[in-house]
C-alpha cells in the first residue's frame, strides 16, 4: 500500500459486509466503538423525542384525552334522571352507573372505531412518507442510518405511540369514571364480582390487547408510508382502510371474510372481562394482529430496502 489510504487493502479482502473487517475501517479513523445496541437506543430515543415533542402530536394526544371526559360527563348527565341504567346499545353502559371503571371500556370501545386509529395513522403514515416529503429521508439514509434499521426504529416509535394513546384513554377514562361515578368491586360481564384491584389489573390487560391492535394498525400504516412521499396521503389512505374494514365487518353478507378483517378483533377485549377469560377469542385476535404485523411489516421492509429514494 504505497499511498496508505486509510482503508487498508488487507481489510477490504475480508468478507465484504460483515465481520471484524468492517470495524477496521472505523478504527483507522480512531472512532470509538459504540455498541450496536447503544447506538440503536440512541437513534430510537432521538426519533421518540421527535414524535412526542412535536406540537401536532401533542395536540392530538390532548384531544384524545378530552373524549373520555366528554363521554363520562355525557353518560353521567344521561343516567341521572332515571337514577340508574342509561344508554342501551353498549353492554357496558348499564354497569357504568354502578362502577366508574366501566367508563374505561366504554371509552376504548367508542374511540376504537375512529379516533384512536386516526391518531395512530397520523404517526404511522407520517413515519417514512413524512421524511420523504421533507427530503430528510435521503439524508438519514446517507448518514447512513441503514434502511432496515431506520424502519425498525420508526416502527418501534409507532408501537410506543400506540401504547401511549391506549393507556392515555384508559387512564383518563378511569380518572373521570372515579370522579363521576361510584367505584368499587367490579362485576364482570360473566356476572362474577372481583376486587377493584383485579378489575384494574384486567383493565391493564385490556389496554395491552388494544395496544397490540393499534400496533398492528401501525404496521399497516408503516407499509403505506413507504409507498408515497405525501404523509397526508398515507394518513388518509390508512383512515379509509380502517373505515372500509369496519363497514365490511357490519355487512352480514361478508360474514365469511369478517374474521380476517384487520378491525374485526379490535373490540374483542371484552373476552378479558369474563371468568374464566375467553382465551380462545383473545388468541384469535392476537393471532390476527400478529399476521397483519408480519405481512405489512415484510411489505414495508421489502419496499424500503429495494426502492430508489428519489425524494
Amino acid at each position: 500500500m504505497a499511498e496508505a489510504p486509510p482503508i487498508e487493502s488487507g481489510q477490504s479482502a475480508e468478507s465484504p459486509l460483515a465481520g471484524p473487517g468492517s470495524a477496521a475501517l472505523g478504527r483507522t479513523e480512531g472512532r470509538p466503538a459504540v455498541g450496536p445496541a447503544r447506538a440503536w437506543l440512541r437513534f430510537f430515543l432521538s426519533e421518540l423525542r421527535q414524535v412526542f415533542l412535536r406540537r401536532r402530536n401533542l395536540l392530538l394526544l390532548a384531544v384524545v384525552a378530552l373524549f373520555p371526559i366528554i363521554i363520562g360527563i355525557g353518560l353521567r348527565l344521561a343516567s341521572h334522571p332515571h337514577g340508574g341504567g342509561g344508554g342501551g346499545g353498549l353492554s357496558f353502559v348499564t354497569q357504568l352507573t354502578g362502577n366508574g371503571i366501566f367508563l374505561t371500556f366504554i371509552a376504548l370501545s367508542l374511540l376504537l372505531t375512529l379516533v384512536m386509529p386516526v391518531v395512530v395513522a397520523v404517526v404511522a403514515g407520517d413515519s417514512i412518507a413524512g421524511e420523504a416529503g421533507y427530503g430528510t429521508l435521503r439524508y438519514l439514509l446517507a448518514v447512513p442510518a441503514g434502511r432496515t434499521r431506520l424502519l425498525a426504529v420508526k416502527y418501534a416509535v409507532i408501537v410506543v405511540f400506540a401504547v401511549a394513546v391506549t393507556f392515555e384513554v384508559s387512564a383518563v377514562a378511569l380518572a373521570t369514571g372515579a370522579v363521576l361515578f361510584p367505584i368499587g368491586p367490579v362485576t364482570l360481564l360473566s356476572g362474577t364480582t372481583v376486587s377493584l384491584a383485579e378489575g384494574i389489573l384486567r383493565l391493564v390487560l385490556v389496554s395491552l390487547y388494544v395496544s397490540a391492535a393499534m400496533a398492528a394498525l401501525g404496521a399497516i400504516g408503516l407499509a403505506v408510508s413507504t409507498l408515497t412521499e405525501h404523509a397526508i396521503g398515507a394518513i388518509a389512505g390508512l383512515a379509509i382502510f380502517v373505515v372500509a374494514s369496519e363497514i365490511a365487518d357490519q355487512v352480514p353478507q361478508f360474514a365469511v371474510i369478517q374474521p380476517y378483517l384487520p378491525t374485526h378483533w379490535w373490540n374483542s377485549f371484552d373476552a378479558l372481562l369474563r371468568v374464566p377469560i375467553d382465551s380462545s377469542t383473545l388468541l384469535k385476535g392476537l393471532l390476527s394482529f400478529a399476521v397483519y404485523l408480519l405481512i405489512f411489516g415484510s411489505f414495508a421492509w421489502a419496499r424500503l430496502t429495494t426502492a430508489d429514494v428519489t425524494s
Binding site: 504505497a2 489510504p5 482503508i7 479482502a13 465484504p16 459486509l17 432521538s46 439514509l141 446517507a142 434499521r149
Partner: protein, 345 residues
C-alpha cells in the same frame, strides 16, 4: 475531445495502491477494478428509469483521493442521479460504483460514515432548530460517539458560521443558511470524502464565495471533495479536476489543464491588409485562415506565433497587432455541454 478519458487517475492518483498479493481470501469479483487510490470510481454505471429513459449512460468516473473534482453538466444531465447511485440511495441498472474502494450500494453501512454529503439541496425538519436537526442526524449515525456529540455539533456549526443562529428554527433560515447547515451536517464526523451536489444553487454571489472558501478549507484538510454544478464558473476556481456530463454521458474527464488543452488556440493578426496576410498564413501552412474586416485569424497548431509575426513582416504586411487566443474554459464547457436549453435527457 469528446472521448471519455476514464483511465486518467490524475496527479494524486499514483499507481501501485491496489492489492496485497498475499491476501488469501480475496473476493475476485469485488476486487476487480478496486483501486483504493480513488475516492470515487465507477465502471459503466448506468441508470435507466422505469419509463425507459436513460438518465446515466455508462459513465466511468475516476476521482483521485485528495482532489477537488468538479462534476459539471447542465440541469438534467444525470449528475444528481449519479450522486444518488454513489451514495446507495438509488440502485444502478448496470455497472458498478465504488466509494473509497468499497463497492456501493452493498458497502453503504461500512463506507458512508466516512462520506459527508449534500444531495440536491438541504433538507431538515422545519420545526426544529439548526442544532437539534444536527443532533437528530448525529443520533442516526451508529459510528458517532454520543459523548462528543455536543462538541462536534458546535464545531460543525462554527465552521459554517451558524453558531449564532443554531437556536433558530430551520424554517426561518435563509437559503444560504440552509445550505450551510447541510454542509455542517456533512462535517459532523471526520470524513475522507465530501460529496456536494449543487452547493451554490440559489445562493447570491456572497454565498457562493463562502461555499467556495469552505470547499478550499475542506480540501486543505486532505479531504477529497466531489462537487457538482451546472455552472463551471462557480467551481472552476476550486477544482483540480472536472468531469463533464451531457445527457447522461460523461463527455470529458481530466484536469483543468487537460480541459484547456482540448481547446485549439488561434492566432489573430490585426492588419490593414487582411487578405494579403491570410495568403501568407496559408502559404506557411496554417489551415483555413478567416478574414474579418481588419483582422485575420487561423488555428495556430504547432506553429510559433513569433515566427509567424516575423514571416508576415518579412512579406511586407503591416502588422498592427498580433496575439494568440485560446477559448475560455467557459467556452470549452459550453462546447461540451451544448448551448442553453437543448437538454434532451
Amino acid at each position: 475531445m469528446t472521448d471519455v478519458d476514464a483511465g486518467s487517475p490524475g496527479p494524486a492518483g499514483a499507481p501501485g495502491a491496489t492489492a496485497d498479493p498475499a491476501a488469501p481470501r480475496r473476493d475476485a469479483v469485488r476486487r476487480a477494478g478496486t483501486d483504493t487510490a480513488l475516492a470515487v470510481s465507477t465502471t459503466g454505471l448506468t441508470k435507466r428509469f422505469r419509463g425507459g429513459q436513460v438518465a446515466v449512460d455508462h459513465i466511468d468516473l475516476a476521482v483521485s483521493r485528495g482532489s477537488v473534482y468538479g462534476f459539471l453538466g447542465p440541469n438534467g444531465s444525470g449528475k444528481t442521479t449519479t450522486i444518488r447511485m454513489l451514495l446507495g440511495l438509488a440502485f444502478p441498472t448496470s455497472g458498478r460504483a465504488e466509494l473509497l474502494g468499497v463497492r456501493m450500494p452493498e458497502g453503504t453501512v461500512r463506507v458512508l460514515p466516512h462520506v459527508g454529503s449534500l444531495i440536491e439541496g438541504p433538507a431538515f425538519y422545519p420545526f426544529l432548530n439548526g442544532r437539534d436537526n444536527l443532533a437528530r442526524s448525529d443520533a442516526a449515525d451508529r459510528t458517532a460517539d454520543p459523548r462528543t456529540a455536543a462538541d462536534r455539533i458546535n464545531g460543525a456549526l462554527d465552521r459554517v458560521g451558524l453558531l449564532a443562529a443554531a437556536g433558530k428554527r430551520y424554517r426561518n433560515y435563509s437559503l444560504g443558511m440552509k445550505q450551510r447547515l447541510a454542509i455542517a451536517a456533512s462535517l459532523l464526523t471526520p470524513r475522507q470524502l465530501i460529496i456536494l451536489d449543487e452547493p451554490t444553487n440559489g445562493l447570491d454571489p456572497q454565498g457562493t464565495r463562502e461555499v467556495r472558501s469552505l470547499i478550499r478549507e475542506i480540501a486543505a484538510d486532505g479531504i477529497t471533495v466531489f462537487v457538482s454544478s451546472h455552472l463551471l464558473a462557480e467551481v472552476e476556481q476550486v477544482c483540480s479536476h472536472v468531469g463533464v456530463m451531457r445527457t447522461g454521458r460523461l463527455v470529458f474527464q481530466g484536469s483543468l489543464a487537460e480541459l484547456r488543452r482540448t481547446g485549439a488556440a488561434r492566432i489573430r493578426v490585426e492588419t490593414a491588409d487582411p487578405v494579403a496576410a491570410a495568403a501568407v498564413l496559408q502559404k506557411l501552412g496554417l489551415p483555413e485562415p478567416l478574414v474579418a474586416r481588419d483582422e485575420v485569424t487561423a488555428p495556430l497548431g504547432d506553429f510559433a506565433a513569433e515566427q509567424i509575426c516575423a514571416d508576415l513582416v518579412h512579406a511586407g504586411i503591416g502588422v498592427r497587432g498580433l496575439g494568440v487566443v485560446s477559448p475560455s474554459l467557459e467556452e470549452l464547457f459550453v462546447g461540451l455541454t451544448g448551448e442553453g436549453y437543448d437538454v434532451d435527457g
